[in-house]
Subunit: 255 residues, 2 copies
DNA sequence: ATGTCTTTGTGAACGCGTGCACAAAGATGG
DNA sequence: CCATCTTTGTGCACGCGTTCACAAAGACAT
Protein backbone atom coordinates (compact mmCIF):
# COMPACT_ATOMS: atom_id res chain seq x y z
CA UNK A 1 0.00 0.00 0.00
CA UNK A 2 1.53 3.28 -1.05
CA UNK A 3 -0.63 5.29 1.18
CA UNK A 4 -1.16 5.97 4.82
CA UNK A 5 -3.65 8.37 6.20
CA UNK A 6 -2.15 10.90 8.52
CA UNK A 7 -3.66 10.08 11.87
CA UNK A 8 -7.39 10.86 12.00
CA UNK A 9 -8.24 8.04 14.36
CA UNK A 10 -10.60 6.27 11.98
CA UNK A 11 -13.07 9.13 12.06
CA UNK A 12 -16.11 7.28 10.87
CA UNK A 13 -17.43 10.03 8.62
CA UNK A 14 -21.20 10.18 8.92
CA UNK A 15 -21.40 6.50 9.78
CA UNK A 16 -19.38 5.29 6.80
CA UNK A 17 -16.23 3.55 8.07
CA UNK A 18 -12.96 4.83 6.70
CA UNK A 19 -12.06 1.37 5.42
CA UNK A 20 -15.25 1.30 3.41
CA UNK A 21 -14.61 4.74 1.90
CA UNK A 22 -11.21 3.53 0.76
CA UNK A 23 -12.84 0.65 -1.11
CA UNK A 24 -15.60 2.61 -2.80
CA UNK A 25 -13.33 3.84 -5.63
CA UNK A 26 -12.41 0.23 -6.25
CA UNK A 27 -16.03 -0.79 -6.63
CA UNK A 28 -16.67 2.24 -8.75
CA UNK A 29 -13.96 1.29 -11.18
CA UNK A 30 -15.24 -2.28 -11.52
CA UNK A 31 -18.79 -1.00 -11.98
CA UNK A 32 -17.73 1.49 -14.62
CA UNK A 33 -16.11 -1.32 -16.59
CA UNK A 34 -19.34 -3.32 -16.37
CA UNK A 35 -21.33 -0.28 -17.41
CA UNK A 36 -19.20 0.16 -20.52
CA UNK A 37 -19.94 -3.43 -21.43
CA UNK A 38 -23.64 -2.63 -20.93
CA UNK A 39 -24.05 -5.19 -18.17
CA UNK A 40 -27.36 -4.30 -16.49
CA UNK A 41 -27.01 -6.00 -13.09
CA UNK A 42 -24.31 -7.67 -11.06
CA UNK A 43 -24.30 -9.89 -7.98
CA UNK A 44 -22.21 -9.17 -4.91
CA UNK A 45 -20.22 -12.28 -5.68
CA UNK A 46 -19.29 -11.21 -9.21
CA UNK A 47 -18.54 -7.62 -8.30
CA UNK A 48 -16.45 -8.68 -5.32
CA UNK A 49 -14.37 -10.91 -7.55
CA UNK A 50 -13.83 -8.06 -10.00
CA UNK A 51 -12.77 -5.73 -7.22
CA UNK A 52 -10.65 -8.33 -5.49
CA UNK A 53 -12.47 -8.40 -2.16
CA UNK A 54 -14.65 -10.71 -0.09
CA UNK A 55 -18.30 -10.66 -1.11
CA UNK A 56 -19.57 -10.33 2.47
CA UNK A 57 -17.36 -7.31 2.92
CA UNK A 58 -18.73 -5.75 -0.23
CA UNK A 59 -22.31 -6.26 0.88
CA UNK A 60 -21.59 -4.75 4.25
CA UNK A 61 -19.87 -1.82 2.59
CA UNK A 62 -22.90 -1.17 0.43
CA UNK A 63 -25.20 -1.54 3.40
CA UNK A 64 -23.64 1.62 4.84
CA UNK A 65 -24.79 3.53 1.77
CA UNK A 66 -28.31 2.14 1.86
CA UNK A 67 -30.29 -0.80 0.49
CA UNK A 68 -29.44 -0.53 -3.16
CA UNK A 69 -29.66 -4.19 -4.15
CA UNK A 70 -32.48 -6.50 -5.09
CA UNK A 71 -32.55 -9.87 -3.44
CA UNK A 72 -32.38 -12.74 -5.82
CA UNK A 73 -31.06 -10.47 -8.56
CA UNK A 74 -28.16 -8.30 -7.48
CA UNK A 75 -27.31 -4.65 -7.96
CA UNK A 76 -28.34 -2.37 -10.81
CA UNK A 77 -25.01 -1.28 -12.28
CA UNK A 78 -25.99 2.22 -13.44
CA UNK A 79 -27.80 3.03 -10.26
CA UNK A 80 -24.90 1.90 -8.12
CA UNK A 81 -22.40 3.87 -10.20
CA UNK A 82 -24.43 6.96 -9.56
CA UNK A 83 -24.87 6.33 -5.83
CA UNK A 84 -21.18 5.69 -5.23
CA UNK A 85 -20.16 8.66 -7.36
CA UNK A 86 -22.45 10.88 -5.37
CA UNK A 87 -21.23 9.50 -2.07
CA UNK A 88 -17.63 10.13 -3.06
CA UNK A 89 -18.46 13.62 -4.25
CA UNK A 90 -17.57 12.89 -7.86
CA UNK A 91 -20.72 14.39 -9.32
CA UNK A 92 -19.13 17.75 -8.89
CA UNK A 93 -15.99 19.17 -10.44
CA UNK A 94 -12.87 19.38 -8.25
CA UNK A 95 -10.21 21.82 -9.38
CA UNK A 96 -6.77 20.56 -8.39
CA UNK A 97 -3.34 22.18 -8.42
CA UNK A 98 -0.10 20.27 -8.78
CA UNK A 99 2.93 21.86 -7.16
CA UNK A 100 6.38 20.76 -8.28
CA UNK A 101 6.58 19.94 -11.97
CA UNK A 102 9.52 17.58 -12.07
CA UNK A 103 9.37 14.11 -13.53
CA UNK A 104 6.66 13.02 -11.18
CA UNK A 105 4.63 16.22 -11.39
CA UNK A 106 4.67 16.01 -15.18
CA UNK A 107 3.59 12.38 -15.02
CA UNK A 108 0.69 13.34 -12.76
CA UNK A 109 -0.32 16.19 -15.07
CA UNK A 110 -0.45 13.72 -17.94
CA UNK A 111 -2.28 11.07 -15.97
CA UNK A 112 -5.63 10.45 -17.57
CA UNK A 113 -7.29 9.00 -14.49
CA UNK A 114 -7.85 12.44 -13.02
CA UNK A 115 -10.01 14.11 -15.65
CA UNK A 116 -12.17 11.04 -16.06
CA UNK A 117 -13.33 11.18 -12.47
CA UNK A 118 -14.35 14.78 -11.97
CA UNK A 119 -10.88 16.09 -11.18
CA UNK A 120 -9.65 18.99 -13.27
CA UNK A 121 -6.05 20.18 -13.23
CA UNK A 122 -6.57 23.91 -12.62
CA UNK A 123 -2.88 24.81 -12.60
CA UNK A 124 0.67 23.52 -12.57
CA UNK A 125 3.00 25.39 -10.25
CA UNK A 126 6.79 25.27 -9.98
CA UNK A 127 9.39 27.30 -8.13
CA UNK A 128 11.82 27.31 -11.06
CA UNK A 129 11.43 30.55 -13.07
CA UNK A 130 12.80 28.77 -16.12
CA UNK A 131 9.74 26.49 -16.09
CA UNK A 132 7.25 29.36 -16.12
CA UNK A 133 5.18 29.46 -19.29
CA UNK A 134 6.42 26.08 -20.52
CA UNK A 135 3.43 23.91 -21.37
CA UNK A 136 3.17 20.51 -19.69
CA UNK A 137 0.27 18.30 -20.69
CA UNK A 138 -1.11 21.30 -22.54
CA UNK A 139 -1.14 23.52 -19.46
CA UNK A 140 1.40 26.33 -19.03
CA UNK A 141 3.41 26.07 -15.81
CA UNK A 142 3.03 29.05 -13.47
CA UNK A 143 5.52 30.36 -10.96
CA UNK A 144 5.01 29.75 -7.23
CA UNK A 145 4.66 33.47 -6.63
CA UNK A 146 1.17 33.17 -7.99
CA UNK A 147 0.23 30.19 -5.83
CA UNK A 148 -2.09 32.11 -3.52
CA UNK A 149 -3.96 33.92 -6.28
CA UNK A 150 -4.38 30.72 -8.31
CA UNK A 151 -5.90 28.91 -5.34
CA UNK A 152 -8.30 31.71 -4.59
CA UNK A 153 -9.32 32.55 -8.15
CA UNK A 154 -10.12 28.95 -8.96
CA UNK A 155 -11.60 27.97 -5.63
CA UNK A 156 -9.11 25.11 -5.29
CA UNK A 157 -9.50 22.95 -2.21
CA UNK A 158 -7.31 19.98 -3.20
CA UNK A 159 -3.57 20.30 -3.72
CA UNK A 160 -1.01 17.76 -4.90
CA UNK A 161 2.56 18.15 -3.69
CA UNK A 162 5.24 16.62 -5.93
CA UNK A 163 8.19 18.74 -4.83
CA UNK A 164 11.48 17.61 -3.33
CA UNK A 165 11.26 16.71 0.36
CA UNK A 166 12.72 19.98 1.60
CA UNK A 167 10.16 22.15 -0.17
CA UNK A 168 7.12 20.12 0.84
CA UNK A 169 6.33 21.62 4.25
CA UNK A 170 6.67 25.27 3.14
CA UNK A 171 4.53 24.59 0.08
CA UNK A 172 2.02 22.79 2.26
CA UNK A 173 1.83 25.76 4.64
CA UNK A 174 1.19 28.14 1.78
CA UNK A 175 -1.47 25.90 0.26
CA UNK A 176 -3.28 25.61 3.57
CA UNK A 177 -3.02 29.34 4.25
CA UNK A 178 -4.53 30.00 0.82
CA UNK A 179 -7.51 27.80 1.54
CA UNK A 180 -6.60 24.25 0.51
CA UNK A 181 -8.07 21.69 2.91
CA UNK A 182 -7.02 18.40 1.29
CA UNK A 183 -3.49 17.47 0.30
CA UNK A 184 -2.04 14.53 -1.56
CA UNK A 185 1.63 14.35 -0.70
CA UNK A 186 4.20 12.57 -2.86
CA UNK A 187 7.22 14.07 -1.11
CA UNK A 188 8.95 11.75 1.36
CA UNK A 189 8.21 13.88 4.40
CA UNK A 190 5.79 13.94 7.30
CA UNK A 191 3.61 16.99 6.78
CA UNK A 192 2.25 18.94 9.73
CA UNK A 193 -1.12 20.53 9.12
CA UNK A 194 -3.79 22.23 11.25
CA UNK A 195 -6.95 20.39 12.28
CA UNK A 196 -9.53 20.17 9.55
CA UNK A 197 -6.97 19.57 6.81
CA UNK A 198 -6.70 16.08 5.35
CA UNK A 199 -3.39 14.71 4.20
CA UNK A 200 -2.84 11.52 2.28
CA UNK A 201 0.61 10.29 1.49
CA UNK A 202 1.99 8.28 -1.40
CA UNK A 203 5.50 7.07 -0.81
CA UNK A 204 7.13 4.95 -3.47
CA UNK A 205 10.17 4.16 -1.41
CA UNK A 206 8.14 2.88 1.51
CA UNK A 207 6.16 0.55 -0.70
CA UNK A 208 9.32 -1.01 -2.04
CA UNK A 209 10.72 -1.43 1.43
CA UNK A 210 7.62 -3.28 2.55
CA UNK A 211 7.95 -5.57 -0.46
CA UNK A 212 11.59 -6.12 0.39
CA UNK A 213 10.64 -7.21 3.89
CA UNK A 214 8.33 -9.90 2.62
CA UNK A 215 10.75 -10.83 -0.12
CA UNK A 216 13.49 -11.32 2.43
CA UNK A 217 11.24 -13.59 4.44
CA UNK A 218 10.40 -15.70 1.44
CA UNK A 219 14.01 -15.92 0.25
CA UNK A 220 15.76 -16.46 3.55
CA UNK A 221 13.35 -18.62 5.43
CA UNK A 222 15.92 -21.35 5.82
CA UNK A 223 19.20 -19.45 5.35
CA UNK A 224 18.30 -16.69 7.81
CA UNK A 225 20.78 -17.40 10.57
CA UNK A 226 23.62 -17.67 8.07
CA UNK A 227 23.27 -14.16 6.58
CA UNK A 228 22.78 -12.63 10.00
CA UNK A 229 26.19 -13.89 11.07
CA UNK A 230 27.88 -12.82 7.83
CA UNK A 231 26.71 -9.19 7.82
CA UNK A 232 28.93 -6.75 9.75
CA UNK A 233 26.78 -5.49 12.60
CA UNK A 234 27.71 -2.24 14.36
CA UNK A 235 28.67 -2.80 17.98
CA UNK A 236 26.05 -1.72 20.38
CA UNK A 237 27.19 1.38 22.21
CA UNK A 238 28.00 0.38 25.75
CA UNK A 239 28.16 3.56 27.76
CA UNK A 240 30.67 2.19 30.25
CA UNK A 241 33.35 1.12 27.77
CA UNK A 242 32.85 3.67 25.02
CA UNK A 243 36.24 4.97 24.02
CA UNK A 244 37.64 3.48 20.81
CA UNK A 245 36.11 3.90 17.36
CA UNK A 246 33.42 1.50 16.27
CA UNK A 247 34.85 -1.95 15.90
CA UNK A 248 33.80 -4.70 13.57
CA UNK A 249 32.83 -7.21 16.19
CA UNK A 250 29.48 -8.71 15.27
CA UNK A 251 26.76 -7.79 17.73
CA UNK A 252 25.63 -10.77 19.71
CA UNK A 253 22.92 -10.81 22.26
CA UNK A 254 24.54 -10.50 25.66
CA UNK A 255 23.60 -13.18 28.15
CA UNK B 1 -2.50 6.32 1.93
CA UNK B 2 -1.92 5.47 -1.69
CA UNK B 3 -1.57 1.81 -1.13
CA UNK B 4 -3.57 -1.23 -0.28
CA UNK B 5 -2.14 -4.61 0.23
CA UNK B 6 -3.76 -7.27 -1.85
CA UNK B 7 -5.45 -9.55 0.62
CA UNK B 8 -2.97 -11.56 2.69
CA UNK B 9 -5.15 -11.53 5.83
CA UNK B 10 -2.72 -9.61 8.01
CA UNK B 11 -0.22 -12.42 7.86
CA UNK B 12 1.80 -11.55 10.89
CA UNK B 13 5.18 -12.36 9.37
CA UNK B 14 7.35 -14.04 11.98
CA UNK B 15 5.53 -12.27 14.79
CA UNK B 16 5.90 -8.75 13.38
CA UNK B 17 2.46 -7.29 12.68
CA UNK B 18 1.87 -6.03 9.17
CA UNK B 19 0.97 -2.59 10.51
CA UNK B 20 4.33 -2.40 12.24
CA UNK B 21 6.20 -3.41 9.10
CA UNK B 22 4.47 -0.60 7.23
CA UNK B 23 5.75 1.91 9.78
CA UNK B 24 9.35 0.70 9.94
CA UNK B 25 10.37 2.61 6.77
CA UNK B 26 8.93 5.74 8.37
CA UNK B 27 11.07 5.30 11.46
CA UNK B 28 14.05 4.48 9.33
CA UNK B 29 13.72 7.72 7.41
CA UNK B 30 13.48 9.79 10.58
CA UNK B 31 16.44 7.95 12.07
CA UNK B 32 18.53 8.46 8.96
CA UNK B 33 17.92 12.19 9.17
CA UNK B 34 19.03 12.15 12.82
CA UNK B 35 22.07 10.11 11.90
CA UNK B 36 23.11 12.66 9.28
CA UNK B 37 22.92 15.35 11.94
CA UNK B 38 25.13 13.13 14.13
CA UNK B 39 22.54 12.82 16.87
CA UNK B 40 23.72 9.90 19.03
CA UNK B 41 20.51 8.90 20.83
CA UNK B 42 16.82 9.67 20.62
CA UNK B 43 13.86 9.08 22.93
CA UNK B 44 10.68 7.37 21.79
CA UNK B 45 8.87 10.65 22.30
CA UNK B 46 11.16 12.60 19.97
CA UNK B 47 11.33 9.93 17.32
CA UNK B 48 7.58 9.43 17.38
CA UNK B 49 7.06 13.15 16.82
CA UNK B 50 9.47 13.09 13.87
CA UNK B 51 7.69 10.12 12.33
CA UNK B 52 4.23 11.47 13.07
CA UNK B 53 3.01 8.64 15.27
CA UNK B 54 2.07 7.97 18.87
CA UNK B 55 5.07 7.27 21.12
CA UNK B 56 3.45 4.26 22.75
CA UNK B 57 2.84 2.77 19.33
CA UNK B 58 6.46 3.35 18.39
CA UNK B 59 7.73 1.63 21.52
CA UNK B 60 5.42 -1.31 20.92
CA UNK B 61 6.60 -1.52 17.32
CA UNK B 62 10.22 -1.64 18.44
CA UNK B 63 9.41 -4.22 21.07
CA UNK B 64 8.57 -6.65 18.25
CA UNK B 65 12.13 -6.30 16.98
CA UNK B 66 13.73 -6.76 20.37
CA UNK B 67 14.83 -4.69 23.32
CA UNK B 68 16.99 -2.15 21.58
CA UNK B 69 16.50 0.81 23.91
CA UNK B 70 18.09 1.91 27.16
CA UNK B 71 15.72 3.01 29.91
CA UNK B 72 16.30 6.53 31.04
CA UNK B 73 18.24 7.31 27.86
CA UNK B 74 16.45 6.26 24.71
CA UNK B 75 17.58 4.53 21.54
CA UNK B 76 21.03 4.53 19.96
CA UNK B 77 20.40 6.02 16.53
CA UNK B 78 23.06 4.14 14.56
CA UNK B 79 22.24 0.85 16.15
CA UNK B 80 18.56 1.25 15.46
CA UNK B 81 19.18 2.26 11.84
CA UNK B 82 21.08 -0.95 11.38
CA UNK B 83 18.52 -3.13 13.09
CA UNK B 84 15.59 -1.75 11.11
CA UNK B 85 17.54 -1.91 7.86
CA UNK B 86 18.35 -5.51 8.53
CA UNK B 87 14.79 -6.35 9.48
CA UNK B 88 13.49 -4.78 6.27
CA UNK B 89 16.11 -6.56 4.23
CA UNK B 90 17.83 -3.37 3.10
CA UNK B 91 21.33 -4.55 3.92
CA UNK B 92 21.27 -6.44 0.67
CA UNK B 93 20.92 -5.19 -2.87
CA UNK B 94 17.56 -5.62 -4.57
CA UNK B 95 17.61 -5.49 -8.37
CA UNK B 96 14.33 -4.07 -9.68
CA UNK B 97 12.84 -3.85 -13.14
CA UNK B 98 10.40 -1.17 -14.23
CA UNK B 99 7.99 -2.18 -16.97
CA UNK B 100 6.22 0.54 -18.94
CA UNK B 101 8.39 3.59 -19.53
CA UNK B 102 5.80 6.29 -20.06
CA UNK B 103 5.64 9.47 -18.04
CA UNK B 104 5.26 7.61 -14.78
CA UNK B 105 7.82 4.94 -15.54
CA UNK B 106 10.37 7.60 -16.43
CA UNK B 107 9.60 9.47 -13.23
CA UNK B 108 10.16 6.27 -11.25
CA UNK B 109 13.42 5.59 -13.06
CA UNK B 110 14.63 9.05 -12.11
CA UNK B 111 13.41 8.79 -8.53
CA UNK B 112 16.36 9.03 -6.19
CA UNK B 113 14.68 7.31 -3.27
CA UNK B 114 15.27 3.90 -4.78
CA UNK B 115 19.02 3.77 -5.08
CA UNK B 116 19.54 5.27 -1.65
CA UNK B 117 17.81 2.35 0.04
CA UNK B 118 19.37 -0.69 -1.51
CA UNK B 119 17.17 -0.81 -4.58
CA UNK B 120 18.94 -0.85 -7.92
CA UNK B 121 17.14 -0.36 -11.21
CA UNK B 122 18.38 -3.36 -13.16
CA UNK B 123 16.43 -2.63 -16.32
CA UNK B 124 13.74 -0.50 -17.95
CA UNK B 125 11.36 -2.41 -20.19
CA UNK B 126 8.81 -1.12 -22.67
CA UNK B 127 6.67 -2.73 -25.36
CA UNK B 128 7.22 0.09 -27.85
CA UNK B 129 10.05 -0.85 -30.27
CA UNK B 130 10.69 2.86 -30.85
CA UNK B 131 11.72 3.21 -27.20
CA UNK B 132 14.32 0.44 -27.36
CA UNK B 133 17.83 1.73 -26.83
CA UNK B 134 16.71 5.19 -25.80
CA UNK B 135 18.33 6.09 -22.49
CA UNK B 136 16.08 7.08 -19.59
CA UNK B 137 17.74 8.15 -16.37
CA UNK B 138 20.98 6.92 -17.91
CA UNK B 139 19.67 3.43 -18.55
CA UNK B 140 18.83 2.22 -22.06
CA UNK B 141 15.27 0.99 -22.44
CA UNK B 142 14.93 -2.63 -23.50
CA UNK B 143 12.15 -4.27 -25.43
CA UNK B 144 9.64 -6.53 -23.69
CA UNK B 145 10.79 -9.48 -25.75
CA UNK B 146 13.78 -9.64 -23.46
CA UNK B 147 11.76 -9.50 -20.26
CA UNK B 148 12.29 -13.13 -19.30
CA UNK B 149 16.02 -13.16 -19.94
CA UNK B 150 16.52 -9.87 -18.08
CA UNK B 151 14.72 -11.22 -15.02
CA UNK B 152 16.70 -14.42 -14.99
CA UNK B 153 20.11 -12.98 -15.81
CA UNK B 154 19.86 -10.37 -13.05
CA UNK B 155 18.07 -12.49 -10.49
CA UNK B 156 15.28 -9.93 -10.22
CA UNK B 157 12.58 -10.73 -7.70
CA UNK B 158 10.84 -7.33 -7.52
CA UNK B 159 9.02 -5.82 -10.48
CA UNK B 160 7.33 -2.44 -10.89
CA UNK B 161 4.42 -2.19 -13.32
CA UNK B 162 3.78 1.26 -14.78
CA UNK B 163 1.98 0.23 -17.94
CA UNK B 164 -1.51 1.18 -19.08
CA UNK B 165 -4.28 -0.76 -17.36
CA UNK B 166 -4.83 -3.19 -20.20
CA UNK B 167 -1.25 -4.36 -20.32
CA UNK B 168 -0.81 -4.83 -16.59
CA UNK B 169 -2.16 -8.35 -16.12
CA UNK B 170 -0.27 -9.90 -19.08
CA UNK B 171 2.94 -8.18 -17.95
CA UNK B 172 2.31 -9.37 -14.42
CA UNK B 173 1.84 -12.95 -15.62
CA UNK B 174 5.11 -12.84 -17.53
CA UNK B 175 6.99 -11.35 -14.60
CA UNK B 176 5.69 -14.03 -12.26
CA UNK B 177 6.42 -16.81 -14.73
CA UNK B 178 9.98 -15.52 -15.05
CA UNK B 179 10.51 -15.65 -11.29
CA UNK B 180 9.37 -12.30 -9.84
CA UNK B 181 7.66 -12.76 -6.48
CA UNK B 182 6.94 -9.16 -5.46
CA UNK B 183 5.12 -6.61 -7.58
CA UNK B 184 4.46 -2.93 -7.12
CA UNK B 185 1.54 -2.04 -9.35
CA UNK B 186 0.80 1.50 -10.53
CA UNK B 187 -1.72 0.46 -13.17
CA UNK B 188 -5.36 0.96 -12.18
CA UNK B 189 -6.24 -2.73 -12.26
CA UNK B 190 -6.74 -5.55 -9.83
CA UNK B 191 -3.93 -8.02 -10.47
CA UNK B 192 -4.46 -11.73 -10.04
CA UNK B 193 -1.37 -13.60 -8.90
CA UNK B 194 -0.61 -17.09 -7.59
CA UNK B 195 -0.06 -17.72 -3.90
CA UNK B 196 3.34 -16.70 -2.66
CA UNK B 197 3.48 -13.58 -4.80
CA UNK B 198 3.06 -10.22 -3.04
CA UNK B 199 1.34 -7.36 -4.76
CA UNK B 200 1.17 -3.80 -3.54
CA UNK B 201 -0.84 -1.21 -5.34
CA UNK B 202 -0.40 2.52 -5.73
CA UNK B 203 -3.42 4.19 -7.22
CA UNK B 204 -3.32 7.94 -7.67
CA UNK B 205 -6.93 8.21 -8.73
CA UNK B 206 -8.19 6.34 -5.68
CA UNK B 207 -6.28 8.62 -3.34
CA UNK B 208 -7.86 11.67 -4.87
CA UNK B 209 -11.31 10.15 -4.64
CA UNK B 210 -10.86 9.50 -0.94
CA UNK B 211 -9.81 13.09 -0.46
CA UNK B 212 -12.85 14.24 -2.43
CA UNK B 213 -15.10 12.28 -0.11
CA UNK B 214 -13.78 14.05 2.97
CA UNK B 215 -13.70 17.35 1.15
CA UNK B 216 -17.34 16.98 0.27
CA UNK B 217 -18.21 16.30 3.86
CA UNK B 218 -16.35 19.36 5.04
CA UNK B 219 -17.86 21.59 2.37
CA UNK B 220 -21.43 20.40 2.41
CA UNK B 221 -22.03 19.65 6.03
CA UNK B 222 -24.91 22.11 6.15
CA UNK B 223 -25.98 22.30 2.50
CA UNK B 224 -26.12 18.54 2.02
CA UNK B 225 -29.84 18.05 1.60
CA UNK B 226 -29.98 20.88 -0.91
CA UNK B 227 -27.49 19.43 -3.42
CA UNK B 228 -28.97 15.97 -3.10
CA UNK B 229 -32.33 17.30 -4.29
CA UNK B 230 -30.80 19.33 -7.12
CA UNK B 231 -28.73 16.59 -8.74
CA UNK B 232 -30.55 14.49 -11.38
CA UNK B 233 -30.66 10.98 -10.01
CA UNK B 234 -31.22 8.03 -12.34
CA UNK B 235 -34.47 6.28 -11.68
CA UNK B 236 -34.10 3.01 -9.89
CA UNK B 237 -34.95 0.14 -12.18
CA UNK B 238 -38.20 -1.30 -11.02
CA UNK B 239 -38.56 -4.66 -12.70
CA UNK B 240 -42.35 -4.62 -12.56
CA UNK B 241 -42.79 -1.33 -14.41
CA UNK B 242 -39.73 -1.34 -16.61
CA UNK B 243 -40.80 -0.33 -20.07
CA UNK B 244 -40.06 3.30 -20.96
CA UNK B 245 -36.58 4.78 -21.22
CA UNK B 246 -34.96 6.16 -18.12
CA UNK B 247 -36.85 9.17 -16.90
CA UNK B 248 -35.57 12.14 -14.94
CA UNK B 249 -37.68 11.63 -11.88
CA UNK B 250 -35.46 11.93 -8.80
CA UNK B 251 -35.13 8.67 -6.98
CA UNK B 252 -36.88 8.68 -3.65
CA UNK B 253 -36.94 5.91 -1.14
CA UNK B 254 -40.21 4.02 -1.66
CA UNK B 255 -42.38 3.64 1.42
C1' DA C 1 -51.37 -18.25 -5.58
C1' DT C 2 -47.94 -21.19 -3.92
C1' DG C 3 -43.42 -23.12 -3.66
C1' DT C 4 -38.65 -23.01 -4.80
C1' DC C 5 -34.47 -20.84 -5.54
C1' DT C 6 -31.30 -17.09 -5.56
C1' DT C 7 -29.16 -13.27 -3.41
C1' DT C 8 -29.22 -9.55 -0.26
C1' DG C 9 -28.70 -7.42 4.30
C1' DT C 10 -27.14 -8.01 8.96
C1' DG C 11 -26.52 -10.00 13.84
C1' DA C 12 -22.84 -11.86 16.20
C1' DA C 13 -18.23 -13.53 17.13
C1' DC C 14 -13.53 -12.94 16.54
C1' DG C 15 -9.01 -10.90 15.84
C1' DC C 16 -5.96 -7.12 15.03
C1' DG C 17 -4.38 -2.57 16.13
C1' DT C 18 -4.24 1.32 19.26
C1' DG C 19 -3.52 3.84 23.35
C1' DC C 20 -3.48 4.22 28.38
C1' DA C 21 -1.11 3.72 32.33
C1' DC C 22 2.29 1.73 35.14
C1' DA C 23 5.96 -1.20 36.81
C1' DA C 24 10.73 -2.31 35.88
C1' DA C 25 15.25 -0.77 34.57
C1' DG C 26 18.90 1.92 34.37
C1' DA C 27 21.28 6.56 34.55
C1' DT C 28 22.71 10.24 37.37
C1' DG C 29 23.90 12.94 41.48
C1' DG C 30 25.10 13.25 46.13
C1' DC D 1 25.56 2.99 48.26
C1' DC D 2 21.21 5.11 48.17
C1' DA D 3 17.68 8.17 46.36
C1' DT D 4 15.68 10.30 42.56
C1' DC D 5 14.50 10.93 37.97
C1' DT D 6 13.94 9.61 33.24
C1' DT D 7 12.44 6.53 29.79
C1' DT D 8 11.57 1.99 28.18
C1' DG D 9 8.72 -2.17 27.68
C1' DT D 10 4.20 -4.16 28.24
C1' DG D 11 -0.37 -5.82 30.42
C1' DC D 12 -4.84 -4.55 29.59
C1' DA D 13 -9.00 -2.74 27.73
C1' DC D 14 -11.39 -0.86 24.01
C1' DG D 15 -12.93 -0.15 19.33
C1' DC D 16 -12.73 -0.94 14.40
C1' DG D 17 -12.81 -4.13 10.69
C1' DT D 18 -13.55 -8.72 8.91
C1' DT D 19 -15.88 -12.86 8.32
C1' DC D 20 -19.36 -16.34 9.07
C1' DA D 21 -23.80 -17.82 8.78
C1' DC D 22 -28.55 -17.19 8.33
C1' DA D 23 -33.07 -15.11 8.09
C1' DA D 24 -35.73 -12.09 5.17
C1' DA D 25 -36.94 -10.64 0.63
C1' DG D 26 -37.92 -10.90 -3.77
C1' DA D 27 -37.79 -13.25 -8.60
C1' DC D 28 -39.47 -16.90 -11.22
C1' DA D 29 -41.75 -21.14 -12.57
C1' DT D 30 -45.67 -23.95 -12.22
Amino acid sequence: MATGRTHRPATRSRGIPEATVARLPLYLRALTALSERSVPTVSSEELAAAAGVNSAKLRKDFSYLGSYGTRGVGYDVEYLVYQISRELGLTQDWPVVIVGIGNLGAALANYGGFASRGFRVAALIDADPAMAGKPVAGIPVQHSDELESIIQDNGVSIGVIATPAGAAQPVCDRLVAAGVTSILNFAPTVLTVPDGVDVRKVDLSIELQILAFHEQRKAGEEAAAQTAAAAPAPVRKDSATDQGPDGDVPAVMPA
